[in-house]
Each structure stands twice: as C-alpha cells, then as structure tokens.
C-alpha cells in the first residue's frame, strides 16, 4: 500500500465518473495514467483490500428489505447457531459483539415482506428469539474511510 493506492482509495469511494472514458478521467484527477489506475484497482481487488468496485445501491428504493437483527446466544451454542444463521442467503454480514445480545447480522431480502418470513424461519431453526431493528431514520454520513 503506497501513497498512490491511498489516494485512489480516498478519492474513489464514490464519485466514479459516468462517461465514455471514466478511468481516464479519474486517473487524470489523481495525476496517474489510465492504465496504472486500472492495474492498481485490479491488484487491490485481487488481494482483497477492496471488497468491490461498483455501485452501492439504495436497497429500499430498489424494493428490497433491509434490517439489522440481533440474537442472545449462550456461548456454548454460539458456533452452531452462527452456522445455522449464515446458511440463509439473506444474511449479509454477521458479527459477534460483546454484549448479552452477542450476534448481530444484516438481513437483505428481495422484498420487505420477506424480512418477517426469514426472521421467523431463523427463530424456528435456531430456537432463539431474533430482535428485529430496522432503520427508522438515516442520518447523513459520508461513509468513507480516510487512509
């Protein structure tokens, strides 16, 4: 990771131009060549520093359902339940967190109605309650990582 990679990451978390030669335009702003920008993006995707290079969609506007869910799982059951939960393709991320509610995951479904159905299914399979905490209001943030 050198200074150029860092500048690419800081500049291109959003704002990729929509035009015929977008890489050329973005590269010009960064003071590097088009080919170099493409190669560096390839490399950073390959070694998984970047998750992807593309759109971040507004899930609800696309008609999908999205929610944050939490469960309280006894330590000795945790791995088993995590495995059961992660089997659901609708589960996007799943993190262990240090709290009585110790398993936190994001559900992303094709329709809002599916959220409730998937939750019930998870409760049925695991035998534990799922706390559903959909977003009520989103406050503006940049959602960027500065390096």
């Amino acid at each position: 990771m050198d200074d150029i990679d860092r500048r690419i990451i800081n500049r291109l978390q959003g704002g990729f131009p929509i035009c015929e030669h977008p890489y050329r335009e973005a590269a010009r702003e960064l003071g590097i060549g088009e080919e170099e920008l493409i190669e560096r993006l390839e490399k950073m995707l390959e070694d998984r520093r970047l998750s992807r290079f593309g759109p971040m969609y507004h899930a609800e506007k696309l008609g999908g359902g999205l929610s944050l869910c939490a469960m309280a799982i006894p330590e000795e059951k945790f791995d088993t339940v995590a495995e059961q939960v992660n089997t659901f393709p609708e589960v996007a991320h799943n993190y262990a967190r240090d709290h009585q509610l110790n398993m936190w995951f994001v559900l992303a479904t094709e329709t809002p109605e599916r959220i409730g159905e998937v939750l019930e299914e998870i409760e049925r399979v695991t035998g534990y309650r799922v706390y559903n905490m959909p977003k009520l209001e989103e406050f503006y943030v940049g959602l960027r990582f500065e390096l």
Binding site: P22, A96, Y131, F139
Partner: protein, 158 residues
C-alpha cells in the same frame, strides 16, 4: 422515475462490479445489447434519482488496518433523536448513523452509530471526544465492539 426492465437488467449486470477496462459502459452495453450512450444515460438517471447511492470503491475495512469497529448505541429521548443523530452523523469518525426501534425491556437504545479505528483505544478516544464535544454525557450509551466476523458480502439485488 420508475425503473424499466432495461434499468433492472443494468442494475443486475453491474451489481458485483464494473469491468476494469477503458470503456466499461461500452462493455456492459455489449453484454446487454444496449448502446454505450444509453447505458451512460441510464446510469446517470439511476444515480441522480438515488437508486445508486455511490459508485466506486467499496473497501474491506479490516484489510485496510481498521481493526476495531464499534457499534455505539444511545438511548436518546425521542424529541432529541433528530438533533443528536444529525450531530453524530457530521463527525468524521462516524461511518453510519441510524435511528432504530427500542426493544424493551431488553434493548433500550434507539440511536446507532458505527465508529471504525485502527485499534480499540483509538475508537474509545473518539467516543470520549464526540461525547464531550456534543454534550452527550448524560445520555445512556453502550459500546459494542465486534469480535469475530462470520460473513461479509454485499447484498444481492435482482
């Protein structure tokens, strides 16, 4: 704006990433049997109308050295949620900020924000700093650091 069938095909085609080629929109157009100019026009409309929140790099923050990620949750009186949420959202270290429902009696918190940092101490320092600056000392809060990450993938659309 109502999404057409062509928009939906475009949304599905690029969801996993853009071609890393000098003319990515021409390449997408070739796959969809759509002229490059039409792809560009549709992309602009999708972005302008908020279907695409942003276009570009999505980072893996762990791999970039952001090893600590805390979900900070607050129990804010309902009539102050908007103001506190707006103020937290403006902080540089805050990467997400949402109001969510309380789940009483087990979960009294209604405002959630994510704070990422190089390590836990750094994140705790950020939290102290914003708590002081915004005068939030009286608001009950908890800090939930993440432990293991089991799964991380983008949501799938279409």
């Amino acid at each position: 704006m109502v999404l057409s069938d062509a928009d939906n095909r475009l949304i599905a085609e690029i969801q996993n990433g853009l071609p890393l080629a000098p003319r990515p929109w021409a390449e997408i157009g070739a796959r969809l049997n759509m002229p490059e100019a039409e792809v560009i026009e549709r992309m602009e409309a999708l972005q302008e109308n908020g279907y695409i929140k942003r276009l570009g790099i999505v980072v893996r923050h762990h791999e970039l050295g952001y090893n600590a990620n805390a979900m900070v949750v607050w129990d804010v009186p309902d009539d102050r949620v908007q103001a506190v949420g707006d103020a937290l959202g403006r902080q540089r270290c805050v990467t997400l900020c949402y109001q969510r429902p309380r789940r009483l009696p087990h979960w009294p918190y209604n405002l959630f924000c994510m704070i990422h940092g190089k390590d836990r101490q750094r994140v705790l320092d950020y939290i102290d700093q914003i708590t002081g600056e915004l005068g939030l000392q009286e608001i009950p809060r908890e800090v939930l650091f993440s432990g293991r990450r089991f799964k991380q993938r983008g949501a799938r659309y279409r």
